[in-house]
Every structure is written in C-alpha cells, then in structure tokens.
C-alpha cells in the first residue's frame, strides 16, 4: 500500500507542478487553487514546526519536567500569550509589551553583532597588504577589493554632495557596485535555472521514468 501511496504522491507532485506552471500562460483557477494550497500548507507547516521545535523544547518541556528551576520561563510564556492577544481587538494593546521585549532584544543584539560581524570584520578583512600574493591575479584581486570597497562606501555617504574629487570617487564606486550587482544577478539567474532543471528532472525522472533520477 505504501508503494501505491508513494506513486500517488509523485502524481500529485506532478499535477501541482503543472498547476503552478500554468501561470506562464495566464492567471487561471487551477493556478489559484495550487497557490492557495501552497499558502495553507506552508503556514500549517511552520505552525507545527514552531510548536514542536521552538515552543516544546524551550518552554513546555522545561516547565513540565523541572518547574522549580525554570520558574522564570513563566514570564516569556505570559508575554507570548500577550502576543497572541493581538488577535483580540479590545485587548490588542497588551501585545505591545511582548513586542517591546522582542524589539528591545533584537535591537540590542543587532547593535553589537552587526557592529562586530558586518562592520568591523568586513573592514578588517579589507585592510590587507595589496603587494603580497602568490600570483598577479591575487594581487590584482586585493587591489580591486580595497579600491572597490572604499569607493563603494564613499558612494553610500550622502552627507556630502557628490561633486569634485569626492564625486569622481563615488562614480568609481558605482562602477564596482554595478559589476557586483551584475554578478549577483547572473548568479541568481543560474540558481533559478538550476531549480527549473530540478523540476524537469522530477517530471522526466520520478514521474515519467524517462531519465534516471
């Protein structure tokens, strides 16, 4: 029976794939149904994932197994219930208390961690000896990294008008940024194409059995 259900599952997968691709022709009821199934199932999946993987191990299990040592966890539980009060218009203001804890923690963590990982680490990685390297390509690469990053940052500095030498440097920054955007775009296109190839492999392999999956 399990084998039949597995086969049925592959047929369902193929039908849903065609239903989504039917949008390429035009918006139609079949696509809309598949889209709503996707939304419903995604939401349901994350709901269950949150319960089993976040709330159960971090809140339910510690409170039920050892309440004495985890009494403080009652506080986030109450704040979590406050958060759900957002759904009740008359008392939705109590959710602000929970939101303020989340926002405060996020802001505090973001301030320190972003400063460490995104600002200081990236800056220190850019400060390097551009004259040393195993070959010319690496040395050239280092120069590009230093000049590109510096001019790119200058481009994002809007407190000074982009004129004269400052403007010329900012313009050079745009050049590096455009090359970077182009590369990122090309890379993303290839990622999407590989997903498309994956779908074709599914249809021709798992569903029709024409190619080896």
């Amino acid at each position: 029976m399990a084998l039949t259900m597995e086969r049925l599952g592959v047929w369902i997968g193929a039908a849903l794939t065609f239903a989504i691709y039917s949008f390429l022709y035009k918006d139609n009821p079949v696509y809309k149904i598949a889209e709503q199934i996707f939304v419903g199932i995604s939401a349901g999946y994350w709901f269950i994932y949150t319960i089993f993987n976040i709330l159960k191990p971090n809140l339910y299990t510690p409170l039920t197994s050892d309440f004495g040592n985890n009494t403080l966890l009652v506080l986030p539980a109450i704040l979590g219930i406050f958060m759900l009060c957002r759904l009740v218009p008359k008392i939705n203001w109590v959710s602000r208390y929970a939101i303020s804890v989340v926002v405060g923690t996020t802001a505090g963590l973001a301030l320190i961690r972003t400063l460490q990982s995104d600002v200081i680490t990236q800056m220190s990685e850019t400060i390097m000896n551009p004259f040393s390297g195993p070959n010319a390509a690496v040395i050239l690469g280092k120069w590009i990294l230093i000049i590109g990053t510096t001019t790119g940052i200058i481009y994002f500095f809007f407190s000074k008008k982009h004129t004269g030498a400052f403007g010329a440097t900012a313009k050079l920054g745009i050049v590096f940024l455009m090359i970077s955007f182009g590369a990122a775009f090309g890379y993303t296109v290839m990622a999407r194409i590989s997903l498309l190839i994956g779908r074709l492999q599914y249809l021709l392999g798992e569903w029709l059995g024409i190619i080896q999956p």
Binding site: E6, I41, L72, P76, A98, S100, V119, A183, F185
Partner: protein, 231 residues
C-alpha cells in the same frame, strides 16, 4: 501607560543586552542568554500569531464573500488539515497527541505530515521558485539593455558569470592555450565572484551594518516608535 511602558521595556531590555555583552560577570553574565531564550519563545508565539492571523483574514474574506472567496476556502482547508495531522500524529521525529500513528505510517510509507510535506510542500515551493526563472528572463531583457556605462557593466558581468557556470562557457574559450587560463570564461567568472562581486557586497554590508546600528540606537532610545503601531 499603554505606549510609555513598552518604550521603557524596550530601553531597559536593549540596554541590558548591550551591557551584558561588555560585562561578563554576574548578574550580567547570563542575562544576554536568558533574554535570548525569552526572545526565542516570544518569537515562537509571534510566528503562531502570524499563522492564526492568516486564518482569521481568510475566514473574514470567506464570510464577507469577497472576490474569488472560494479560493480562500482551499487555503483554510490546507492549513487546518496540516495542523490537525501535525498535532495528532506529529512529525518525523516528534510524536503527536495520538502517538506515532504506526498504522498510518504503514499506509502512507511515512507519517501523514511528512507525506504532505514531501509531495505537496516540497514540489509546490520548488516549482514556485523555479517559476521565477521565466520572469527573470524578461527582467534580464529590461536590465541588460546597454544604454550607458553602468548598465553595460551590469550586462557584461552577469553574462560572464552565467556563461562561466555553464558548459558553453568552457567550450567557448576551451581552445585558449593552458598558459593563458586566466582568459578562460569560467576563470573570469570565478575572479568576478571572488573579488569584484565581493567589493560591492562588502560596501553594502558595511553601510547597511552602520544603518542597523543607527536604527537599533533609535529604537532603544525611543526615537523610533513605529513598531508600537497605532497612534
């Protein structure tokens, strides 16, 4: 009180997290960890809130019979089915209220929740994202028109990266002698990804990082209050 107290909480919590990063001694030592675990729990409730709000919005749409309301029934049914089977029989490594559901496992070959995940969710999400490949083709046409220096650079680097990731890119420059490998398209694509692409990403990362630091300070100091909503 309804607005001032949350601002005080944000300030106190935000400052405690910052201070605890610099003072590794009690009572600040474990404060950051405690607040992070609280944050995780409350965020979990926030995720549930989002899903329940989706359900509420869809039910309202069905009740009011808005345009195309029939499709929202599909969404609600899918959502309820997924939650029900998840709670009753659990997921791959978690038992549900009715245990592991061994009878259903032998029928479906896996738990019902995982069956829907594999055959519905995985296929739908992969197809939905692969659909973007087609729309990117039209976006590429608009973005890649070489009108000026900047768009020409965008075009050239994107084409080189795309060619470098395909067999045709290797084939096009395969005839170039070994001692000139740096002229091979895959090598050029690798160079672009390793250095040129990194410059832009690094500049954006540093500037965005400074922006995040500024925004975080504004939130902690109560200058930015939009997250409280309403008046």
């Amino acid at each position: 009180m309804k607005r001032q107290f949350p601002l005080v909480i944000t300030f106190v919590v935000g400052m405690l997290v910052i201070v605890s990063q610099f003072i590794p001694h009690q009572p600040f030592g474990h404060l950051s960890d405690t607040l992070e675990s609280w944050f995780l729990i409350i965020s979990g409730f926030a995720i549930l809130l989002g899903q329940l709000n989706l359900l509420k919005v869809n039910i309202i749409k069905i009740h009011r019979k808005v345009r195309n309301w029939q499709y929202y029934i599909v969404c609600v049914v899918s959502f309820v089915v997924m939650i029900t089977i998840g709670i009753l029989w659990g997921t791959q490594d978690q038992p549900g209220l009715l245990g592991q559901g061994s009878a259903l496992v032998s029928f479906f070959g896996r738990k019902p929740f995982d069956y829907i995940f594999k055959h519905f969710f995985e296929n739908l999400s992969a197809t939905m994202f692969s659909l973007l490949a087609f729309f990117m083709a039209s976006a590429s046409y608009r973005a890649f028109r070489a009108r000026n220096l900047e768009s020409s650079l965008l075009l050239i680097s994107a084409v080189l990266v795309m060619l470098g990731r395909t067999t045709i890119g290797t084939w096009l420059t395969g005839w170039i002698p070994e001692d000139l490998t740096y002229l091979h398209i895959p090598q050029i694509a690798n160079f672009i990804m390793k250095y040129l692409q990194k410059t832009g990403q690094r500049a954006i990362m540093i500037c965005a990082g400074l922006g995040i630091v500024g925004s975080s300070l504004r939130i902690i100091l109560g200058i930015e209050r939009s997250y409280l909503g309403g008046k």
